[in-house]
């Protein structure tokens, strides 16, 4: 995972509540055995017309003015539904570095953080302000400071967002959690010696 400390980028909004991971990446794209090529299928059924190829001119991500946006502002409860990690892979593949919402589904939030896609939780007023800003001026940019846990709006207002210390450490240092768990091998062995396995699938 790459280190992530600062994000400076333009915003694009999809002001829809409860965007589920089936919308972010439909199941028919989950037959891959790697993480490649999912970006072009992000929001596939909203982004393309019925043929699955022709861009839907009414969908915001196809609007030329918003090309290159790296921060997605979404409605409440983003990423609900399926646990597919293909959702953050697709969003990263589509060029996003952060998603802003009032709330994220638990599994999506975990998956995003493990891939360096930053989920930023803001209050409803800030969310509405960002919807309006994105709508009025496609060149609106925001900046994010991971260390300080702040999102700075074009008017200079810095909004704090929550981020657990462990995820923050991993993002800032570009390390993943597996290394941490592997280093606990002795503790896991000690646990296993006191807790015999409950079932044996190989029996």
């Amino acid at each position: 995972m790459e280190k992530l400390n600062h994000i400076q980028g333009s915003i694009v909004s999809i002001p829809v509540n409860d965007i589920d991971t089936d919308q972010i990446i439909p199941a028919r794209f989950l037959k891959v055995t790697d993480k490649e090529g999912l970006g072009k299928a992000a929001f596939c059924d909203w982004r393309y017309l019925e043929d699955g190829e022709t861009p839907n001119p009414d969908f915001i991500l196809n609007n030329p003015a918003y090309q290159g946006a790296s921060v997605l502002v979404a409605g409440d409860n983003f990423g609900c539904g399926s646990s597919r990690e293909h959702a953050p892979w697709a969003l990263l593949g589509a060029g996003f570095q952060a998603v802003i919402s009032t709330d994220f589904a638990d599994i999506f939030r975990n998956n995003a953080l493990k891939n360096g896609l930053l989920p930023i939780i803001v209050d409803a007023d800030t969310q509405q302000q960002l919807f309006s800003l994105a709508d009025e001026d496609p060149s609106t940019t925001v900046s994010v400071d991971v260390e300080a846990q702040t999102l700075t709006l074009p008017d200079g207002r810095a909004v704090s967002f929550p981020l657990d210390g462990f995820s923050k450490y991993c993002l800032l240092n570009g390390v993943d959690q597996l290394g941490y768990l592997l280093a606990l091998d002795e503790e896991v062995q000690a646990y296993e010696s006191k807790h015999p396995r409950r079932v044996a699938t190989t029996a």
Binding site: V16, D18, Q23, K31, F166, L181, V188, R197
Partner: protein, 477 residues
Amino acid sequence: MTETGKPRTLFEKVWSAHTVRDQSADSPAVLYIDLHLVHEVTSPQAFSMLRERGLRVRRPDQTIGTMDHSTPTTPRNALGIIPVADAMAAKQLDVFSQNCSDFGIPMYALGDEHQGIVHVIGPEKGLTQPGMTIVCGDSHTSTHGAFGALAFGIGTSEVGHVLATQTLLQNKPRTMAVNVDGALGDGVTAKDIILAIIAKIGIGGGTGYVFEYRGDAIRSLSMEGRMTVCNMSIEGGARAGMVAPDDTTFEYISGREHAPSGAEWDAALANWRKLPTDDGANYDEEITIRAEELTPMITFGTNPGMGMPITAAVPMPDDEADYNKKIALDKALTYMDLRPGQKLLGKAIDVVFIGSCTNSRISDLRQAADFVNGRKVAEGVRMMVVPGSQQVKRQAESEGLDEIFRAAGAEWREAGCSMCIAMNGDQLQPGQYAVSTSNRNFEGRQGKGGRTFLASPLTAAASAIAGVVADPRRMLN
């Protein structure tokens, strides 16, 4: 209770018995995982990561694989083989076979006598037991909570963590008691309970919580019914749902392939009986539903929280005070091509799907078969019945259920996720309406442009016969 005598919830007991390291200000808890279920769709990148880092699977003996998501459910050919027409799916299944073989993980391949949906085979093989921690790269892992296990879905990175270390980093969730008191009326089932709960709290209402389902109505459910309820916890935002184990649980487990036996059974039983929440234990949140007020439920919109009693009318967006919710409702009704205030009863349908990890177990199939026995699926309606596992399929066939379904004009399929996920050839055509016993009515979930009404197997069977959305209570013998 602990030595200090502080009353604890079922969740707290299971959680604290599995913490290798407690949560601190700096890091989440490290939770030990008793059972890891893997399938072909969310595991390949995790196995690739193991290879890149030169890691082994720490506990293949606590891991089991099955093929379910991308597998076709078309009948076997003359050689007894289920052909996989989709080249990408075939490759994914091959990669999965190779991964399980290379890393020593027992795996049930497509068509194997033990193969089936991951959340159906765990319980039916006796692998799912009270007090365990169980994970899988699938959000419906919450199903296993029906046994008093702490079971939840994880992403592919976490699949890799569990494969390599048998542990997970987890922040401790909050607890919510979900009380369902009283008795269910005729024609009202476990599926209606959970659809009513989600309609009440909303699709994000349980985010950050583990549910514990309690009350007479939950106690009176079979294990299959409890699995249906726990299965859809995630549709209310909760990663896990649990039911305290009782004699119904123990009776279900007893004698199954991986169930303890003899003295081990007695020891296990003594431990399992200590799991239910102590009197006086506190939950962070509590809600209560009266079972006798419940009716058959159906969804009208594009997420599982958009549900209502089957006799009700589709809500009016203009009545919605919250602007964003109004927009969401408008968008959902447009996709579903439904009018505000419209009743769904009598709405013509194209497909009925009975299956998925929510409702594909033997009791679900018995209920549906009993309803369609001697009746005919309405002209122009396609009814698919997809057993959750090969074992369920054999059991159903031994009881003649397949013949009842075929005689009624329904399709009897091989086991798998089928039209719940629509990545295996089973899918709706654009614009079609389906009454489905699965768990998600998201846009395109059952096929691009397809429209899903979620309901119980009984409501689905009644609708198949009527050819329209139908209230099973009006057609019960």
